[in-house]
């Protein structure tokens, strides 16, 4: 159990590649933090700096208020779970889980208690005498979790632990990790490129892009109140629709090449500095409603059971529109749309930052 503070941490690799710029966060005791972003954005680098596997070029790291910036990895009391489990093939599951403690010359009675407790939590009691290759992928990943648990570390670090599993197993394991967190109440930092994992697991999400932290916030904040166009586009599936347009008629209307609509009072106030200027409209597929004066031609529909996704064209503008329930519209049918204005976002077209 511990707090972690990263104070303007920066990583420059030997070749001069700046992998992480100015990472600054205060992580509370028992918090579940998910770092999410596209490939190569510096997620693993950040995690490895926290673990002490990678040197921190600039800035400081503190665990429980104590500086650990230059502390060796083994002295940081953190346990890391990797994507490829990294189990020892020739050892039984019991020995795999006990290994790190055996290395530290822990008393074997103590080791046994811890291994059995972890096996109980992870439902591995019947597998302890097997070798890793006799287990399924999900069980192996549970063993890897077990190895971290027995060490009772201050902080758990996960680097894409579920990406080797098939989709269904991922859902199960995701739930188990969530339960594990509730049960152990430990501080956990979890790296993934999967936005669903981020939204379901996190107390707070850190969205990264190209080495920069784009936004830190609760899943709801990240989803409904994105800081900029990148965050808005990265979180949400199907992704947000972005439409380039302009504020016209003294700030009363939004107009793009293919349609326009009247802004409500709140939007007018929000956009008063952008009269006559270019903005980007961002609207999530689920924030359209039927009825209105945007004529959209259905080009394809996808039934997803609980909801229906329509690919529509408003002349040359392509829109993804999602409605609750099983709804049938034939291809080429014209549907009338309007926007739930309370839920739409506008972004500055130059900086791509949210207009607030």
């Amino acid at each position: 159990m511990a707090t972690l503070k990263l104070d303007h941490v920066k990583k420059i690799y030997d070749g001069g590649v700046v992998a992480v710029h100015d990472f600054d966060i205060d992580i509370k005791d028992g918090e579940f933090i998910v770092i999410v972003g596209p490939s190569g954005c510096g997620k693993s680098t950040t995690l490895r700096m926290i673990a002490g596997l990678e040197e921190i070029t600039e800035g400081h790291a503190y665990v429980d208020e104590k500086e650990v910036t230059n502390l060796a990895s083994k002295d940081r009391d953190m346990a890391m779970v990797f994507q490829n489990y990294a189990l020892y093939a020739h050892m039984t599951i019991y020995q795999n889980m006990a290994f790190s403690l055996t290395l530290r010359k822990t008393d074997k009675i103590e080791i046994h208690k811890k291994v059995m407790a972890a096996a109980e939590i992870l439902n591995l009691k019947d597998q302890l005498n097997k070798k890793p290759k006799q287990l399924s992928g999900g069980q192996r990943q549970r063993v890897a979790l077990g190895r971290a648990i027995v060490r009772t570390p201050k902080i758990f670090l996960f680097d894409e632990p579920l990406s080797n599993l098939d989709a269904k197993l991922r859902v199960t394991m995701r739930r188990e990790i969530k339960l594990l967190h509730q049960r152990l109440n430990a501080t956990m930092i979890y790296v993934t490129h999967d936005q669903i994992e981020a939204l379901t697991l996190a107390d707070r999400i850190v969205v990264m892009s190209m080495g920069h932290v784009q936004q830190i916030g609760s899943p709801l904040e990240i989803y409904s109140d994105p800081n900029n166009k990148f965050v808005a586009s990265f979180i949400g599936n199907p992704p947000m629709n972005f439409i380039d347009g302009k504020i016209i008629s003294d700030g009363k209307k939004f107009e793009c090449d293919d349609f326009s609509f009247e802004l409500d009072e709140k939007r007018k106030a929000l956009l008063k500095d952008y009269v006559g200027k270019n903005v980007i409209l961002g609207v999530r597929p689920e924030h359209f409603q039927e009825g209105g004066d945007i004529d959209a031609v259905v080009t394809m529909s996808e039934h997803m059971g609980a909801s229906t996704l329509f690919h529509c064209d408003v002349q040359n503008t392509h829109l993804n529109v999602k409605f609750e329930g099983w709804i049938d519209h034939a291809d080429n049918e014209i549907i009338k749309l309007s926007l739930k204005q309370d839920l739409i976002c506008f972004f500055d077209s130059e900086t791509e930052n949210r207009i607030r």
Binding site: Q95, I109, K113, V115, L128
Partner: protein
């Protein structure tokens, strides 16, 4: 440490056996194998040992000894009770063997040093064979004790469920 803690410690030690091999018995069997190899290397390197029927049989017995020792090692590792008795039997045969080939060559060696073992070599061979036999008996006894504890423990778990 009070009595209760002692009992609990014993209990956990027994529980650990469910997941750990009986490596002590295994080690003792390996010692028996090593001693036996040392024994026959020493014996057969004596120039007086010329190939004949008796020596052929002894060679065969050695091969069988090594093989069954190896099997016993593997079985005792997993707390197999029946193989403890096999280990006792092998140990008994090893003791009896002392009075056959080595003793025979010692006798002829005492008459003429060129025709057999000297006292030093004989002592080495006997010691090796005794160590091998004692190790095997030890391995068997340890397995018997541990297996009894383990089985009682497993039974308790079974009933507890």
């Amino acid at each position: 440490m009070n009595n209760f803690e002692n009992v609990e410690k014993k209990e956990i030690e027994t529980d650990i056996m469910r997941y750990k091999n009986n490596s002590l018995s295994f080690l003792l069997c390996v010692i028996a194998i090593v001693c036996n190899v040392a024994m026959f290397l020493s014996l057969y390197s004596n120039t007086a040992c010329t190939p004949n029927f008796q020596l052929g049989i002894d060679l065969l017995v050695n091969v069988i000894f090594l093989l069954s020792c190896f099997l016993a090692a593997e079985k005792l590792k997993t707390y197999n009770v029946s193989w403890s008795y096999v280990a006792f039997a092998i140990a008994g045969i090893e003791i009896l063997r002392i009075f056959w080939i080595p003793t025979m060559y010692l006798k002829s060696g005492l008459e003429d040093p060129l025709k057999g073992l000297n006292a030093g070599q004989f002592t080495f061979i006997v010691i090796m064979m005794v160590i091998a036999a004692v190790s095997l008996v030890g391995a068997g006894i340890i397995t018997l004790i541990k297996a009894k504890r383990l089985n009682a423990h497993l039974k308790r778990i079974e009933e507890g469920k």
